[in-house]
């Protein structure tokens, strides 16, 4: 009993601590903006990049669980996936707000939205918004099987986000470095499923 309480008090086991940790960069970004509104421009990239990083880590949880099974660290990640996903949306929102503040002129915002690199970002953001709004237990209960179907839209959002990044930058290196780990894990996951399938098929043949 005492050990259990001690375990729960242990700061790395505490989910609220984890949420707070994820919020720290946002506090610094907002303070920086309030200190000098001209910095909105400089905050567009870091907020977007952090959003992508959190999305990628959250998306890596499921292939990692399939490849490495249920272990202490994969359990640890799984427990924090929702927090990371919601935080990814939070930083995407901050990214959009800094962008809008920096643009300032309505006609220019509309003109930008017609460009491929920008509308891919808007659609990805819309998907993240729906996912973040349904990232709670009551939405899970209400949507049942549809909840999982809805969450799968994250793959579309990830592809759109990658395109948004590559096309805004006009070059692919920055985005590539971020997306390679996730892409590799997804390939490994598919390979893993196929080798498992062919192995069990071979075993079934050996039995008969």
């Amino acid at each position: 009993m005492i050990r259990r309480i001690a375990n729960n008090l242990h700061i790395m086991h505490n989910l609220y601590f984890f949420w707070a940790l994820l919020a720290i960069p946002a506090v610094f970004m907002i303070l920086r903006y309030l200190g000098d509104p001209e910095t909105a421009f400089d905050l567009i990239h870091p907020s977007g990049e952090l959003s992508v990083r959190l999305m990628i880590i959250a998306m890596m949880v499921s292939p990692l669980r399939q490849l490495f099974g249920r272990r202490g660290w994969t359990d640890w990640l799984l427990k924090r996936r929702r927090a990371m996903g919601v935080a990814a949306f939070g930083y995407a929102l901050l990214h959009l707000v800094f962008y809008l503040i920096d643009m300032a002129v309505w006609e220019q915002i509309v003109k930008d939205a017609m460009i491929f690199s920008i509308w891919t970002g808007y659609i990805a953001f819309a998907i993240f918004a729906v996912m973040a709004l349904t990232s709670n237990d009551s939405a899970m209960r209400m949507l049942r099987a549809n909840w999982k179907r809805l969450q799968r839209f994250v793959y579309a959002a990830a592809i759109l986000t990658a395109l948004h990044w590559v096309y805004v930058d006009g070059e692919w290196r920055g985005a590539l470095i971020h997306f390679i780990p996730l892409a590799a894990l997804e390939i490994a996951r598919v390979a893993h499923i196929f080798t498992k399938r062919s192995r069990s098929a071979a075993q079934a043949e050996a039995v008969t």
Partner: protein, 105 residues
């Protein structure tokens, strides 16, 4: 498991190679062969010249041996523009990655 580990090793190696392949400052969009920086006009001079023409400037830096300027054109468009650091000639203008002007040649 072996196969997936091999894949991850390849991916990690690729990522590292990409990361070290080129200095972080050159984006590879455009290059200026403008000689030593001592012969360049200053960034302040370029900015002043652009402001006089009606530009608004957010930020400027050196990229690929050219001056790169983030700002608003006299027409009111938010762009990223490249200028030759000696002649101050406008070389490339893009809006959110979409090229809207490129110097011929």
């Amino acid at each position: 498991m072996k196969f997936s580990q091999a894949l991850m090793a390849i991916a990690a190696a690729t990522a590292m190679q990409v990361a070290v392949a080129e200095p972080a400052h050159a984006t590879g969009k455009i290059k200026c062969e403008a000689g030593p920086q001592s012969g360049w006009v200053s960034r302040e001079k370029l900015e002043a010249e652009l402001k006089a023409k009606g530009w608004k400037i957010k930020k400027s830096k050196v990229d690929g041996g050219c001056y790169e300027v983030y700002g608003t054109t006299p027409e009111g468009d938010r762009v990223e523009a490249y200028f030759h650091p000696v002649t101050m000639e406008k070389l490339l203008v893009s809006r959110r990655g979409k090229v809207i002007f490129r110097k011929k040649g």
